[in-house]
């Protein structure tokens, strides 16, 4: 598929920017339409504490079968209009693609059974682990690690996956350093150059696999990037303004999947999703309050404001009073979605959206940059950039301005420590040279370490 550059917003009007509706809705043969007006639950579950190896893999398969049965049964009882199940393969299931493929088959078989016998419409998203890390990594785009990721995608695509996603990690090590020091130049370099180049190569190949197998290349997430910032900010380790600005920069990176042909719904943990939807028009999956089983955030309600799928992130299989955790999460998501869809049915979806927004946006900078009006303001600046680097810098600058504006007009509360960092980030942005080659040369000179070898990205 030819590369697309998004130079216009797909959504220009705030009233068109609402949960359940996406300009580029996706229709499936089973009748589900994502982005067509209905928000569906996306349930994600994983193994309880256990090792996965050749001695235990059959137990792991059994767990997945039982979890899928539990989720489908609960979804059927609650009369969902449709369900998405996501399996984020554990690392061993990408290091051993045959295990990931077998898991895909097992989960899909249960889903098919419920669809055939009970009319439960469902779709399966498979997310292999991006294992391209470690001391023995030869290169990001060739060699053993790359082959494992691609073999897993291909095998899962051929054996039951409907949607393909990944939490890709190109540039992550550099970004981690950038976050720890709130080093804006390093963060911009990691996202706008390193991660951007990796996303192009990675998604070109994922889209190709999806086309060959006639399934959906769904999208990526900045989980390894802005979610690290977000969680550190929630724990008070870094300023929330940094995590907010990082999130907006990450939107440029995640959108590269769409430029290469991904059509959504992007990954649930990509809290940059509203930017992807505004710019590309593709539907998005989001997570928030019902993902507190996996991690904390300060944006649990606002995350739902423009979601097309509503997810729990991931829950490990455990028994609680209400049943097994995947079933409990299913129920929580179903009720969240039912309420949102009922607001839509009664013509009040914008009211619901605005309540979700207003309940969070004032209290945290990261929540604030997810406010639909703010997203549209920043998104229309991002698309003016000609390169990924330029777009990343524009994203950061526009986010700084919007956050400052929000604070000044009383829409966002920030303390002095946060404001100091906002000023610091602003001045760091100013110091980044406009000349891309000069910037890259400087960054490579100062950041080539054991953890980041530019040659593995063909940069240098």
């Amino acid at each position: 598929m030819a590369k697309v550059t998004f130079n216009e917003l797909a959504i220009n009007n705030l009233n068109d920017f609402v949960y359940g509706h996406a300009p580029k809705k996706i229709k499936f043969d089973n009748g589900m339409v994502i982005g067509g007006g209905t928000v569906y639950p996306e349930v994600n579950f994983t193994l309880p504490p256990m090792q996965v190896n050749k001695n235990t893999i059959s137990k792991a398969y059994k767990q997945y079968k039982e979890m899928t049965e539990g989720v489908c049964q609960r979804a059927m009882e609650l009369q969902v209009p449709g369900l998405v199940i996501e399996i984020e393969l554990v690392p061993d299931m990408t290091f051993n693609p045959e295990w990931g493929i077998e898991t895909t088959k097992i989960v899909k078989e249960v889903m098919n059974e419920y669809q055939d016998k009970n009319g439960l419409k469902s779709l399966l998203r498979i997310t292999p682990v991006d294992v391209r890390e470690g001391n023995d990594l030869e290169h990001m785009w060739r060699g053993k690690h790359w082959d494992l990721v691609m073999d897993t995608f291909k095998g899962c695509a051929e054996n039951g996956a409907d949607l393909l996603s990944i939490e890709s990690v190109g540039g992550k090590n550099l970004h981690d350093d950038g976050v720890m020091f709130c080093d804006v130049a390093k963060t911009v370099f990691s996202l706008g150059i390193v991660a951007a180049r990796d996303m192009e190569k990675l998604w070109e190949n994922i889209v190709k696999i999806a086309e060959e197998t006639n399934i959906i290349p769904a999208g990526d997430t900045a989980c390894a990037f802005a979610n690290t910032s977000m969680v550190l900010a929630v724990r008070g380790m870094i300023p929330t303004v940094f995590s907010a600005i990082d999130r907006v920069m990450c939107a440029v990176r995640t959108m590269i999947a769409n430029e290469q042909g991904a059509i959504g719904p992007d990954k649930d943990c990509g809290y940059e999703g509203p930017y992807i939807k505004a710019i590309t028009g593709t539907p998005i999956s989001m997570e928030g309050k019902s993902a507190a089983v996996a991690h904390n955030s300060f944006c649990g309600n606002i995350a739902a404001a423009v979601a097309d799928l509503w997810s729990n992130e991931a829950v490990e299989n455990k028994r609680l009073l209400g049943g097994m955790t995947p079933e409990i999460c299913t129920e929580m998501l179903v009720y969240d979605c039912r309420l949102m869809n009922q607001f839509t049915a009664s013509g009040n979806n914008l009211l619901m959206r605005d309540m979700l927004v207003e309940s969070d946006s004032r209290l945290d900078a990261h929540a604030y940059i997810m406010k639909p009006s703010v997203v549209l303001n920043i998104a229309k600046e991002i698309i003016k950039g000609k390169t990924h680097l330029e777009r990343t810098k524009i994203a950061a600058k526009a986010a700084v301005q919007e956050i400052r504006k929000g604070f000044e007009n009383g829409s966002l509360e920030l303390n002095e420590r946060e404001l100091n960092y906002l000023n610091m980030i602003d001045s760091q942005l100013e110091s980044i040279p406009d000349n891309e080659e000069e910037f890259i040369a400087d960054m490579i000179e100062n950041n080539t370490t054991e953890k980041f070898d530019p040659k593995k990205y063909d940069i240098a």
Partner: protein
Amino acid sequence: MDREILNELTVALQKGDAIKTQKFVKIALKKGYEPEQILTEGLVSSMNTIAEKFKKKQIFVPDLLLATRAMNAGIFILKPKLKKQLFSPIGKVLIGTIEGDLHDIGKNLVKVFLERAGFEVIDLGNDVPVNYFIEAIKKFKPQILGLSASLTTTMYGMRDVIKALEKEGLRENLLIVVGGVPITESFATGIGADIYDMDGTKVADKAKEKLKCYNF
């Protein structure tokens, strides 16, 4: 001698300005301050203030890291002039993420806190096989081993490392600290670890306390 230059040094370090920290260390030396005085009254006392502020959540991790970097820059100037080695580590820690686990920012943060507390930390990185831990313990002879896991499917790898240590006769003189998102107190105790806290910032203090009770 007036203390103005030491005050300026303090401000530079607390702002995390490595260049100015070095500049004021050089000026202080020219003014005739003893290197030991610059170290203790200029660098170490400022760093202690920073560490206290961090504990009280008055500053962020980047402030702590930048101040540490500035302090090290100052020490770099002072080191050749110090009459004796004032900094001997309070202990040696070997740290790494369990095999199959590629997440390491939590481990990296704990490393920062341990170093700040005065430990020498040897970082084996992430995705570390059991035999690498064993070989590294034989080679570096640490008092403490730190194991990190962020996945429910890798956390039991910690138990494998501990079992392997027992088999090799290396467990006895070693404190083991474990951490990571899925790790709980009962899990840590169950696999035979000595130190755990869900808050990574508290691990260094616990390790310090525990180490005092042993004579490794």
